[in-house]
Amino acid sequence: MKKTITLEVNGVPETADVEVGTTLLRFLRDGLDLTGAKEGCNEGECGSCMVLLDGRPVNSCLVLAVEADGRSVTTIEGLGKDDVLHPLQKAFLSHAAIQCGFCTPGMIVSAAALLREKPDPSEDDVRKALAGNLCRCTGYRQIVDAVHAAATEMRAAASVDDEAGSGRLAAPEEVTA
């Protein structure tokens, strides 16, 4: 059975007819051609399909597209801007926190959610926030280091913003601007 949904994806309003059984992940990939979120296990174990739903990190393979009606979704494609990488993306590159790259979008989305909540996370905070993201190539050392490096950069950018008189913490998307 099809239902019409209206939602915001990476700041863009979208309206679509979707089958009830279609997951948010399949809708994003097949319907909107946003292929950053990956289908790994398809049962909420691996985290490669992570997106933000109303700002919260969720396994998009465990969310039906119809459940996202009226909601706001941010995918890996919405974290950076066209020519400017998000600080997490830059840090993952500079720390070689990738091998095959399949888990990377999910890792970065989870990490982005963590840094919104905790701009200065401990190692334990990072490891717990990424416990739902599996990397099967390598260990997690470079990934944890990359998250900390990005956190440092984002805090520095936020304090520069504050000194410039904006008087507020910059949202992660705005830090790169």
Partner: protein, 279 residues
């Protein structure tokens, strides 16, 4: 997923209950268990009634008797960080934060964890220890089920098909218990408990009251009242005796996570550790 699957998102409890009357209807909360079960063919509902659009089910609020009421649609991530939970019912936060992983807990709910009635449900041991009440609505009216009567067997809760769990109430009398949830699993995140042991002790009351509850070592989560009474009579000095009593009381099975023998021994070890840490 079947192509004729229907989806409805009512905004009131009464509307939801009426919709459930049709056969083949399943409640949808976080979906973290239901959707994988449907994909695996273990459940095949014809329509889903999503409860997350009902505003009242999203609240954590003070209940009339001074306890805390947690709405069915509140995700576990909000339970484990709620100031009232952390301050007065920290054992529930301890258990909630061990479920799945952080993103999963943004969707998974306390009510869903209970209604699945898994013997390994981490939050169930806290709710058993804290004498929670499960509030249920159906076309027959509203009622309250004491948590000790809620779990009937693996995957089996004391609910009828038309029942909707609306909230879980932690009574004021259970506020202030401190302690720990000691949990063994094959990896620290995204794995069910092989053994879970909760040991709690009242704060400031004399004589101290104790709570002991176990996950994943019997057909249902277990509360061990006899072990609690032993500790209330003899104090933490009886840790060894309490451990032995718990070891004998559990009824574990062998599965891919561990053997029955291993689980039984670990119940003893973890109960002793939990009691000694509160001595």
């Amino acid at each position: 997923m079947p192509t004729d699957l229907d989806y409805l998102a009512p905004t009131t409890v009464d509307e939801a209950i009426a919709l459930k009357a049709m056969p083949g209807t399943a409640w949808l909360l976080g979906g973290t268990d239901l959707l994988p079960q449907m994909r695996a063919g273990r459940k095949a509902p014809e329509r889903l009634v999503d409860l997350k659009r009902i505003p009242g089910l999203h609240e954590i609020r003070e209940s009339a008797d001074g306890g805390l009421s947690i709405g069915a649609a509140v995700p576990l991530a909000d339970v484990e960080t709620h100031p009232g939970v952390l301050d007065r019912f920290p054992l529930l936060a301890e258990c909630a934060k061990t479920v799945g992983a952080w993103p999963l807990r943004q969707r998974a709910t306390l009510a869903g964890n209970l209604c699945n009635a898994s013997p390994a449900a981490d939050t169930a041991v806290a709710l058993l220890a804290l004498d929670a009440e499960v509030k249920v609505a159906s076309t027959a009216g509203r009622r309250s089920i004491p948590i000790r009567e809620f779990f009937l067997g693996p995957g089996l809760a004391a609910l009828s098909p038309g029942d909707l769990v609306t909230e879980i109430v932690l009574p004021a009398a259970s506020a202030g218990f401190r302690g720990s949830y000691l949990r063994l699993s094959r990896r620290k995140g995204m794995d069910l408990a092989t053994v879970g042991v909760l040991v709690g002790k009242s704060n400031g009351t004399l004589p101290a009251r104790w709570r002991v509850a176990l996950a994943a070592v019997a057909p249902t989560p277990l509360r061990l009242r006899a072990v609690e009474e032993l500790l209330e009579a003899k104090g933490a000095a009886a840790a060894g005796e309490a451990a032995e009593a718990a070891r004998v009381a559990c009824r574990p099975i062998t599965d891919l996570r561990g053997s029955a023998e291993y689980r039984r021994e670990m119940v003893g070890v973890l109960v002793r550790r939990g009691v000694e840490s509160l001595g």
